[in-house]
Amino acid sequence: MREALAISARGLRCTFRQGQVRALDGVDIDVPAGAAVAITGPSGSGKTTLIHALAGLQPVEAGDIDIAGGTPETAQDWTALRRSQIGMVFQEDWLLPALTAAQNVEIALGENGLSAAERRQRALALLARVNASDFADYRPAGLSGGERQRIAVARSLANSPAILMADEPTGELDSANAERIIDLLFGLHAAEGLTLLIVTHDADLAARCQAQFVMRDGRGAYVDAGVPA
């Protein structure tokens, strides 16, 4: 039986500077549901552009994307999908400075009929999962990079996504903090079958994933053709 695919994209094309830079030059990628895939490749090869395209944050000029069982087309389709199925973690935390850690998680909860108390409770539970309960009521400005990134991870999990995409989530962290974040992501992957897509330059981290998708000059392929059929 063929495995269900969380993501299946064909012929993704995306250029910048009037076509001079081909960030994605016809990328095909399949990601089985529940897999952990590392996206690697040299700087400028199109890794960030790829996951942004797969999350609908970057419009593509050509190509088809099937994701989480649907084929989003409009901007509304994509926001709805990010609200329910896709969690995103970026290299920077992008926490809103005006909000506390708990509120930064709450804003990702969407307007799904929860009371204020329920929202807060849910935010606190998510913060507990990333070991960030202690600073639930702190604003980001007073927190370290590792603490902030943990909050960003909690935010990405707010709507129990099926797919989590992380762009060098540990790029700005020291090794101890990086370790915690990675353990956390793999823990969720193991426990809940979360599909993981991690952009990384870190060989050890890539090795922990079941497959490595390597990008080069806007094109990409799995290292060993093992994972997708």
């Binding site: 942004h52 944050l57 999908l81 990010r82 920077e92 992008w94 005006a98 804003i107 307007e111 929202r119």
Partner: protein, 369 residues
């Protein structure tokens, strides 16, 4: 979290950017209120001085540049008095002179006993009487500023006058004039038998007809109802054009200031807007949240600006060089207008940058700071 709570949270931290936007809008609204109030004050100070004197119509030389340069013969007043519908006449001579301290004042003279004297309220002393000689009555604000009291001497037209009374008038201008008897001023200014204008009181029931008849009968005269007067004289017209120009400029600069401050504020936050989109906020919710911020900010700034503008106009009119001549005219309508302008422009200044910022692909912004 809703668009509203996010907006309020964002405002509650009083980021320097918010304070900048607030100050920008505030200054624009304040200048709008102050400038329009002052311009209207200039326009009304002349008209109100006449209306409050009980003058229904003012007769001047046709084509005269302003009230002071008009020349009429005093007999004209007698002729006008005989016309049907005219109930009283008051020939007036207005001249400027310089006091010993260099201050220039306007002296207004009427024959003793004519109706404009009745509009002055004596606060100390008395009005001039027939056969008094060189006596003057001084408007209360001028007296306070220049330190005149009853019994003092005042030099007018290089001649010593005795101050016999202090008066207040309903108009600000009226409180800053010096008043004297007509023949005395005519003689000292070499204008025997001449006046600058004639004030008329008309039979109320037929004042319109009377004015038409008078204009037909005296084509060499300019006869205006005092209510319309500020429009028909050069200074009145200038004041009106100024008021219009100033309000337009103030309004335009308010629009620009609000637009740029809100644009800058929204642009500085493109990262926040992009992350909201990345976590699944629909565009209209992001825009709504920004609009609420803009609305709250411009409402606060509008109120503060109105207060600042009203206060500023009072301060300006208290300046020694103009105090007593102009009172800012800042009515409830102007305040409501200024508030609505700040709200409308605040929202417009927010919605355009908000739509522009949220139209960009979040990837452009989230890629890297």
């Amino acid at each position: 979290m809703t668009a509203l709570t996010l907006a309020l949270r964002n405002l509650s931290i009083w980021h320097p950017r918010n304070i900048g936007a607030l100050a920008g809008i505030m200054i624009a609204v304040a200048s709008l209120v102050a400038l329009i109030g002052l311009a209207r004050g200039v326009q009304e100070s002349l008209a109100s001085a006449l209306v409050n004197r009980g003058t229904d119509a003012l007769v001047t030389e046709a084509g005269a540049f302003d009230l002071i340069s008009s020349i009429l013969m005093e007999e004209t007043a007698m002729a006008l008095a005989k016309q049907p519908g005219v109930t009283a006449v008051a020939p007036e001579l207005s001249r400027l002179t310089t006091l010993r301290d260099g201050r220039s004042v306007a002296v207004t003279a009427w024959p003793v006993g004519t109706f404009p004297w009745d509009s002055l309220k004596v606060t100390d002393g008395r009005l001039p009487a027939t056969g008094d000689g060189q006596v003057a009555v001084i408007g209360q604000s001028l007296a306070t500023r220049a330190g005149f009291a009853v019994g003092d001497r005042i030099e007018l037209f290089h001649t010593e006058f005795q101050v016999v009374g202090l008066v207040t008038a309903q108009s600000v201008l009226g409180r800053s004039l010096v008043y004297a008897a007509l023949p005395v001023v005519q003689e000292l200014t070499f204008r025997d038998g001449q006046v600058t204008s004639v004030g008329l009181q008309l039979d109320k029931d037929q004042s319109a007809e009377t004015l038409t008849q008078l204009r037909d009968g005296f084509p060499a005269l300019n006869i205006e109802a005092t209510a319309d007067l500020s429009d028909s004289y050069f200074f009145g017209q200038i004041a009106r054009v100024l008021a219009l120009t100033i309000s337009t400029v103030a309004m335009l600069s308010a629009v620009l200031v609000i637009f740029t401050t809100m644009s800058t504020a929204v642009n500085a936050r493109r990262g926040e807007l992009a992350i909201l989109s990345a976590i699944g906020w629909p565009r209209q919710r992001i825009v709504a949240s920004l609009l609420i911020e803009g609305a709250v900010l411009s409402a606060i700034a509008g109120v503060l600006g109105i207060l600042g503008g009203a206060l500023g106009a009072q301060v300006v009119t208290a300046l020694p060089s103009i105090t007593g001549y102009i009172a800012p005219v800042i009515g409830p309508v102007l305040l409501v207008q200024a508030f609505l302008v700040s709200m409308a422009v605040g929202l417009l200044g927010t919605v355009i940058p908000a739509l522009r910022a949220t139209a960009r692909a979040p990837a452009d912004i989230l890629r890297s700071r």
